[in-house]
């Protein structure tokens, strides 16, 4: 929430001056008689950071004072027509000190660049007549951004203030060849003809089963581009990543398993997702007990045989998928570890994977061979299989 926006300039006689501020009196006290609340900050304390020396001009400068954070982008224009041959101004935004402010950085940058251009074109800010309209403009910006997170305010025939607040997301996790993307939205519905070509090629193959490598093969798309496209979808939260599903895989519960029992909404979601058909009726209490029975050291295949009668109406693949995505279970990976990887009588490429850091998923995807084949190659070697 923006607490205030103000416009300050350097006055050749009076120094840094606040010319316009919304709300009134939020930065410098309004002249009496006034019923405005006292200013949020003491402008004198920070005026040298709002209207700074050359070094800080054309840079994003923030300063905290009195529990508020001021974001500004001071601009300095040099021209003979100005007193002292320069004109310094700043449009600053005031936020609560502990508020997330990264999205507002672009706001002050944009305001600064736009008004800099206007000033260069027509002396918009240095001319006292045109400058008077600044108050209405910043008032509108503050109102619109706080209420609608965007604004589109015409200044004159050729200039408009166009701002939209975008949330900042974390960088996407690294995508590996053996990761399986699962869509969290209906990508086909989002996509249109203007989307990137690789994206259009790969989206039909994102089915929660295919690995990234497999998707690039099926879509006949470049692997590096496929990875990039998937990173993009991850960044916007349209995808999540899971492990390759296999009946030879081992699954076990995580400490988050109890969250499933406490969350009735997730339970309903679970039932609807894991049942083999929509008409089947399954009880959550059974599904929960089944999750709890997953254990280290037992392959899914063996587990299915052991629990066969209780799996009626349950799609095992979806059962595992749901558990993984929700974090209530995890896949136990297998890692071949050689005490001395260098001296192994195996292909050189395979030897590089035996130091302990590579799972079978990685090895099989990178070498494009099956697990069985890898095990055959390792036969007779001093290699231990570690489950993690």
């Amino acid at each position: 929430m923006i607490k205030s926006i103000f416009f300050a300039i350097f006055h050749h006689e009076r120094g840094p001056q606040v010319l316009h501020q919304v709300p009134d009196g939020s930065i410098t006290p309004s002249p009496p008689p006034s019923t405005d609340p006292p200013p949020l900050i003491d402008f004198d304390h920070i005026s040298s950071h709002i209207i700074p020396k050359q070094e800080l001009c054309d840079r994003l400068v923030t300063i905290c004072t009195n529990k508020y954070r001021l974001l500004g982008y001071p601009v300095c224009l040099e021209d003979r027509r100005y007193e002292r041959n320069e004109f310094i101004f700043n449009f600053a935004v005031v936020l609560d000190e502990d508020a997330e402010f990264s999205t507002y950085k672009s706001v002050v940058r944009k305001l600064a660049k736009l008004f800099k251009a206007l000033e260069e074109q027509s002396g918009f800010l240095s001319n006292e007549v045109t400058r008077a309209s600044v108050y209405a403009l910043i008032e509108q910006v503050l109102e619109d951004l706080n209420n609608y997170s965007e604004c589109m305010i015409p200044i004159n025939e050729s200039n408009t203030i166009n701002i939209k607040l975008f949330p900042t997301y974390a960088p996407p996790p690294p995508v590996k060849a053996w990761h399986v993307p699962v869509s969290t939205v209906q990508l086909e519905l989002l996509m249109d003809a203007t989307w990137d070509l690789t994206m259009q090629k790969i989206v039909p193959h994102i089915d929660g089963i295919n690995s990234v490598r497999r998707i690039s093969e099926l879509a006949d798309a470049d692997y590096a581009l496929t990875k990039k496209a998937i990173s993009h979808l991850l960044y916007y939260g349209c995808l999540t990543l899971v492990d390759i599903f296999a009946f030879s895989g081992i699954y076990a519960v995580t400490a988050d398993i109890s969250s499933l029992l406490a969350d009735t909404q997730m339970q309903e979601e679970c039932i609807n997702y894991v049942r083999s058909s929509e008409s089947t009726k399954i009880a959550f209490s059974d599904v929960f007990a089944l999750y709890c029975s997953l254990s280290q050291g037992v392959t899914l295949k063996k587990w299915c045989i052991d629990h066969f009668p209780r799996l009626k109406g349950i799609d095992v693949r979806r059962f595992i998928g749901f558990g993984i995505v929700k974090g209530v279970i995890y896949r136990v990976h297998k890692y071949p570890v050689a005490t001395n990887a260098a001296s192994m009588p195996v292909p050189a490429k395979l030897a590089t994977f035996l130091k302990g850091g590579s799972s079978f998923d990685e090895i099989c995807t990178e070498m494009q061979v099956g697990e069985k084949k890898v095990l055959e190659l390792l036969e007779g070697c001093d290699v231990q299989i570690v489950h993690r």
Partner: protein, 670 residues
């Protein structure tokens, strides 16, 4: 109490002082901050799905440089900065920009940073500019004079500003209107003083020790030369007359320069400010008030810079001289070096006041990061955290059924303790020697005679200073698995290390592969009784390196439909004479499906009736024990705890659980 003692106690509550700069010099504890660390940890659990919280699992100080700004009547000056040439693209910041998921072992590889900037400086001497009067021409792209002006605020209190992605964080210290630097008994810090009261005796000891040392001759020669000046300053201070001509300082400001990733901005700046900036500034303020330390050091550094300018000394040489001769400059360089590597910084200010600073790190996690979460391989994974456990006395104590797992060799910890001969170090050494990861505090206490309460304080101390981790005692009958968060990429370096420690026992990959199958009690892997000790040592080693974690059992009570029907019928029979009045929680009965009782110890009316029906046909002893065990059957408590906590034998616990098997659902995790 003398002033120093007062102060040390106050500061100890916030910055943990010891004397001189070794870790384990005093047995006092910094309780509030251990809790802070703990609540931090809890936050991670709570906000598991909030990404920006996640990032904070990985230690990252984002520290680029430390600047010392002083202001005298001639204006503000950048007196000293470290490193001499701060880089905007420091290794840590690069790592954090690359995305933390790939930044695999920032906790383990913390030593890979710039060990010694001065040395590396000298190697590129040819490229060096000669030191001007300001030392270095520009710092972080700014002229020194400009930086000094920008960072000399008129305001009191926390200072925070940023230019593009670089943040300047500090706490300026202004001279008071009466010319002194601090009030006799400053208000506002009283609450910290009261926090420290439980540990008052030992802190007084240390304060006294610090006092004697400070006065005793025994500083370096150079320090003794200065003694005259210092005394003179003291006298002037006593007279309340500090005006010393045009050069007198009226403000100093230690500014920490950071470049936090955008999404971690608030978190990183807050932790740096709370744990480092505030405490370091406060300690400097104390020494400045006591004998004009900061100003004396400032003058010393300025003199060296002037001389260097005349002699055309290179920056590298000048910085070496400054670090050599100025205690404050050296302290700043130590704080930079250690904090930027997420280590603990120990400095001895004015050869007198020992201060230790650290940004607490997350030492274990309960939630396994998913593929899309930032990875933190190697961090121990367990829900067995001893803090905030119901049996602990508040949050201040480690649970008595826990024990310590040392993260270093006991010998090296003992050496650290012995480097310091204080009254408390003897009992600390005794404790460290007596502590065994296979015995709980309670057992150790009975064995070695240290009162439990004292032992828990000592243990807390060791945990806070990263010497140990609190764990449930290691037991051969418990089950252990390869931790899903183990950092197997470290194996190439761990394998030889392990082989050196256990030369005659199965190799590390073999041990890990043993623990990879279907989970079994550890005892089943021990070939004979004679091997037990050695195998438990291996297990301890594996847990210390986060390779292995305990797999514990959790249980919930699930009420079968038959029990529900029985209760329902019984209730109807009881009610039949009267008109049908709805029973309080009739709606929850749902006779067509089984129900889990989420909190059996706080069961509702109908749940109690179901529980009663479940145990109705059990013998009385089972019934009684089951009732006692109910509070553990909510999926939050490991069943392994019951025996220790309730003082029931493991066998009996098993008997009750077996008897009630029909209504229990088990899950195994960490």
């Amino acid at each position: 109490m003398n002033e120093l003692a007062c102060f040390v106690r106050r500061l100890a509550a916030s910055a943990f002082i010891h004397h001189p700069s070794k870790v384990l010099t005093q047995a006092t504890l910094n309780t509030p901050h251990c809790i802070a660390m703990d609540s931090l940890y809890n936050n991670h659990r709570r906000y598991h799905h909030q990404q920006h919280r996640h990032h904070s699992l990985t230690p990252n100080s984002c520290l680029l440089a430390i600047l010392l700004i002083t202001r005298s009547s001639v204006g503000p000056t950048l007196t000293f900065h470290y490193p001499p040439r701060p880089r905007l693209d420091s290794p840590q910041s690069l790592a954090s920009r690359r995305g933390l998921a790939d930044n695999s072992s920032s906790s383990s590889s913390s030593s890979s940073g710039d060990e010694d900037d001065v040395v590396s400086e000298s190697s590129k001497k040819k490229a060096e500019v000669k030191a001007g009067s300001a030392g270095v021409d520009t710092i972080l792209g700014f002229r020194a004079e400009f930086l000094a002006g920008m960072l000399a605020p008129k305001q009191q209190g926390r200072f925070e500003m940023s230019v593009d992605d670089v943040v300047f964080l500090g706490q300026p210290v202004h001279v008071r209107p009466d010319g002194t630097w601090r009030q006799e008994a400053e208000v506002g810090e009283s609450e910290e003083a009261s926090d420290a009261t439980p540990f008052e005796p030992s802190e007084q000891e240390t304060a006294a020790a610090a006092k004697t040392r400070g006065v005793k001759p025994g500083h370096s020669e150079q320090q003794q030369q200065q003694e005259g000046d210092a005394d003179a300053d003291d006298e002037r201070d006593d007279d309340g007359d500090t005006v010393k001509g045009s050069g007198t300082m009226n403000m100093f400001h230690v500014v920490f320069v950071l470049n936090p990733p955008e999404l971690e901005y608030h978190f990183r700046t807050a932790e740096m400010f709370d744990y480092v900036v505030k405490r370091f500034s406060r300690a400097l303020k104390y020494e400045q008030a006591r004998d004009g330390y900061v100003w004396r050091e400032t003058e010393k550094i300025s003199r060296l810079k002037e001389q260097a300018a005349q002699k055309d000394t290179s920056v590298g040489d000048l910085w070496r001289q400054i670090l050599d001769q100025s205690n404050l400059a050296y302290a700043i360089s130590c704080v930079y070096r250690d904090i930027s590597q997420s280590k603990i910084a120990h400095v001895l200010l004015n050869n007198q006041l020992a201060v230790s600073l650290q940004i607490p790190i997350v030492s274990e996690i309960a939630v396994l990061p998913s593929l899309t979460d930032p990875q933190v391989p190697g961090l121990p994974l367990t829900t067995a955290n001893s803090f905030g456990d119901e049996e602990t006395e508040g949050d201040a104590m480690l649970a008595k059924h826990f024990t310590l797992l040392f993260l270093e060799d006991v010998e090296s910890i003992l050496k650290d303790i012995q480097a310091e001969a204080t009254d408390s170090s003897a009992s600390l050494a005794h404790f460290v020697k007596s502590c065994k990861p296979t015995h709980s505090f309670l057992q150790i206490s009975q064995h070695c005679g240290i009162p439990l309460h004292e032992m828990q304080i000592l243990a807390r101390h060791l945990v806070h200073w990263r010497k140990a981790r609190a764990i449930p005692p290691i037991h051969q009958r418990d089950t252990y698995i390869v931790s899903p968060n183990a950092d197997l990429k470290r194996l190439p370096s761990l394998i030889p290390q392990y082989a050196k420690t256990f030369p005659t026992l199965p190799a590390l990959p073999k041990m890990l592969s043993l623990l990879s199958g279907k989970p079994k009690p550890f005892a089943t892997f021990i070939p004979s009784k004679d091997h037990r000790g050695a195998y438990l040592e291996i297990l301890t080693w594996l847990i210390r390196y986060g390779l292995v974690t305990q797999l514990r059992n959790f249980a919930w009570v699930k009420i079968p439909i038959a029990i529900k029907m029985a209760v329902h019928k019984e209730r109807q029979m009881q009610m039949s004479p009267q008109p049908p009045v709805p029973i309080e929680d009739d709606v929850d009965e749902k006779l067509d499906e089984e129900s889990y009782i989420l909190e059996p110890s706080r069961a509702s009316g109908i749940e109690s009736a179901w529980l009663e029906m479940c145990t109705r046909h059990q013998p009385q002893d089972v019934k009684t024990l089951f009732e006692r065990m109910l509070k553990y059957l909510n999926g939050q408590h490991a069943l392994e705890k019951i025996a220790v906590r309730e003082g029931i034998s493991r066998k009996e616990v098993r008997k009750v659980l077996n008897a009630m098997d029909g209504v229990l659902v088990y899950a195994k995790h960490w």
